[in-house]
């Protein structure tokens, strides 16, 4: 498994992890200050084409961080699945962005830069910070009136490479070239509107641009790891886990954890829709194997106490699903032992179990159903009190590495 990002709270403890964030924030504030972002005039000059520092700093930072992130991911050092990618709520984002743009030119800062300005005793920065607090307060009090809009146009974890249907490396290179083009245009504008001497720009910036393009090309050539690549890296360790039957949980344990209020159990039934309609466990979701890739990003958004249980008629397809989810770094995934067949054998009444089909193939349903009643069988929601089952409990919550909130969460 890719070693990064780290599970900071496992290593440093809950509050210890925050020291790391404090250091990251320190670096952030320090760099903003030396860039001149504590000075509202310098920020506002961006919008009169006199001094495009904002554009240069921001896009240099984006392309540097982006190139390094996707190179580290290509090398298997960093798991992009565990990186917080701001979920897209398109129209609230655009409208909020426009309002912020107005605020930027009226007030001369953005929230981060105003903190730096206030920290260096700029009075306009302090007023801006007070304004931000007031605006946030107002939002908290008013958002209820248009919560439908605020949660609309949700596209989840939606990246440029998904949208364009291009390999990640190509998108990385496009973004790098777009930024370099903007730098070129920006420098021209500074000469025209700001009267800047074009020779004053340092020569090393060409070398830096060249180096960045090379990093981008490297990331493109290496390619991002596929689910197969990820599994291949994990296989030696995880095949042993499967062979030792450490993750195949007894139907009794599944029933037990579904009634545990400290856990959120998500049952992923990976059989065909036809089988699912014949019989399934109450609250299980039908996600045929082929559809799993579409929901991985959503699974990462689930809270840290979520336990995922894959199930098929026996274990074959459920094991495939398990491998896929584990390769995609979804935490706390288990397999229903013996699948739905075993579940029915354990909890089914005589009516349900009498028509046993011994000739059913591997991973096929071995009970015969006359009608597709789905979850309208008592065995679909057995009463835990009625059964006395003995099993070895296997579910252990591992600490989640992927952030469930980020951005400005």
């Amino acid at each position: 498994m890719s070693p990064f990002p780290l599970s900071l709270s496992t290593i440093f403890g809950h509050w210890g992890a925050y020291v790391v964030y404090l250091i990251i924030g320190f670096g952030f504030g320090y760099v903003l200050e030396i860039a001149g972002f504590g000075n509202s005039k310098k920020l506002a000059a961006q919008f009169y084409f006199k001094d495009l520092t904002v554009l240069k700093v921001m896009f240099s930072a984006i392309i540097v961080a982006m190139s390094l992130i996707f190179t580290a991911s290509a090398l298997g050092l960093l798991d992009y699945n565990l990186i917080w990618v701001n979920p897209t709520y398109l129209w609230p984002g655009i409208l909020g962005g426009l309002i912020m743009g107005f605020g930027f030119i009226i007030g001369g800062f953005c929230p981060g830069t105003s903190m730096v300005a206030a920290a260096t005793a700029k009075i306009d920065g302090i007023f801006f910070v007070l304004g931000v607090f007031f605006g946030i307060f107002l939002f908290g009090e008013t958002v209820e009136n248009y919560s439908v809009f605020w949660t609309s146009s949700y596209l989840g974890r939606f990246t440029l490479q998904d949208w364009l249907g291009l390999p990640t490396g190509v998108v990385v290179l496009i973004v790098i070239f777009m930024a370099l083009f903007m730098f070129w245009g920006g420098e021209k504008l500074e000469v025209i509107f700001g009267g800047k001497n074009p020779a004053s720009e340092p020569k090393w910036r060409y070398a830096a641009a060249g180096a960045l393009v090379l990093v981008g090309v490297f990331a493109l050539v290496m390619g991002q790891p596929t689910a197969e690549d990820r599994w291949a890296r994990l296989a030696p360790e995880k095949n042993a886990v499967l062979a030792n039957r450490e993750v195949q949980i007894h139907p009794g344990e599944l029933l037990e954890i579904t009634s545990d209020t400290t856990l959120k159990v998500m049952m992923l039934d990976v059989r065909s829709e036809a089988d699912y309609n014949l019989f399934h466990i109450l609250d299980s979701r039908n996600i045929p194997l082929a559809d799993l890739p579409n929901i991985v990003a959503d699974l990462h958004f689930e809270p840290a106490n979520t336990v995922f249980v894959t199930m098929s008629n026996d274990e074959e397809a459920a094991t495939e699903a398990w491998k896929y989810l584990v390769a995609e770094a979804v935490p706390n995934v288990y397999i229903l032992e013996g699948g739905i067949n075993n579940w029915i054998a354990t909890f089914g009444d005589d009516d349900l179990t009498k028509r046993f089909n011994a000739g059913a193939g591997d991973d096929q349903l071995c009970y015969i159903f006359d009608s597709a009643l789905g979850e309208r069988y008592s065995a679909a929601e057995p009463d835990a009190e009625e059964f006395e089952l003995e099993y070895v409990p296997k579910v252990k919550l591992e600490i989640k590495r992927a952030p469930t909130s980020g951005g400005c969460g």
């Binding site: 504030g29 909020g96 260096t120 939002f139 004053s200």
Partner: protein, 189 residues
Amino acid sequence: MATYTSSETAVQEPAKKAERVAKDYVNPYFAGILLGLVLFFAFFISGNGLGASGGMNRMLVFIEDLIAPQHVDRTPYLIDMAGGNKNPLDSWVVFVSVGTILGGFVSGWRNGRFKVETNKGPNISNKMRWMMAFIGGALMGYGARMARGCTSGQALSGGAVLSVGSWAFMFAVFGGAYLLAYSLRKFWN
């Protein structure tokens, strides 16, 4: 504004009377590369990017929770952060924000730029500038929560990991600012 000779002295207020001479800002590309390294390091170590308005949000909610806990418990947007026994300050983004303030202060101090002053265009009074700053801040704060992140948490962090929403947001911010810039030119120039 238009008579300077190098990018380094652009927009700098000459520190005439101050004992400490304010140093020039660094080259923007150099600052950008450093910022990119900080951002990469944040993602690489923690899986999270940077944030600012989120931290300010939680600081505010902390105070609201002290003053009117019942109100917080009845407002859906606030419950997530401070409902019941939840401590709104128990979040990574708060610590990033505190770090940002410290980092800004240390850099300003070391480079002679820690100075009580108001940066503004030459044609408006200090009071006018403060009022504008407050109004602009309020719009920023409101917009940042609507967009679920500010220039740091959305544009910068989401931009670097290629989120579609973050890129749309970023163009909206620049678009909004350029849209109003001409009408407000007297305030800044």
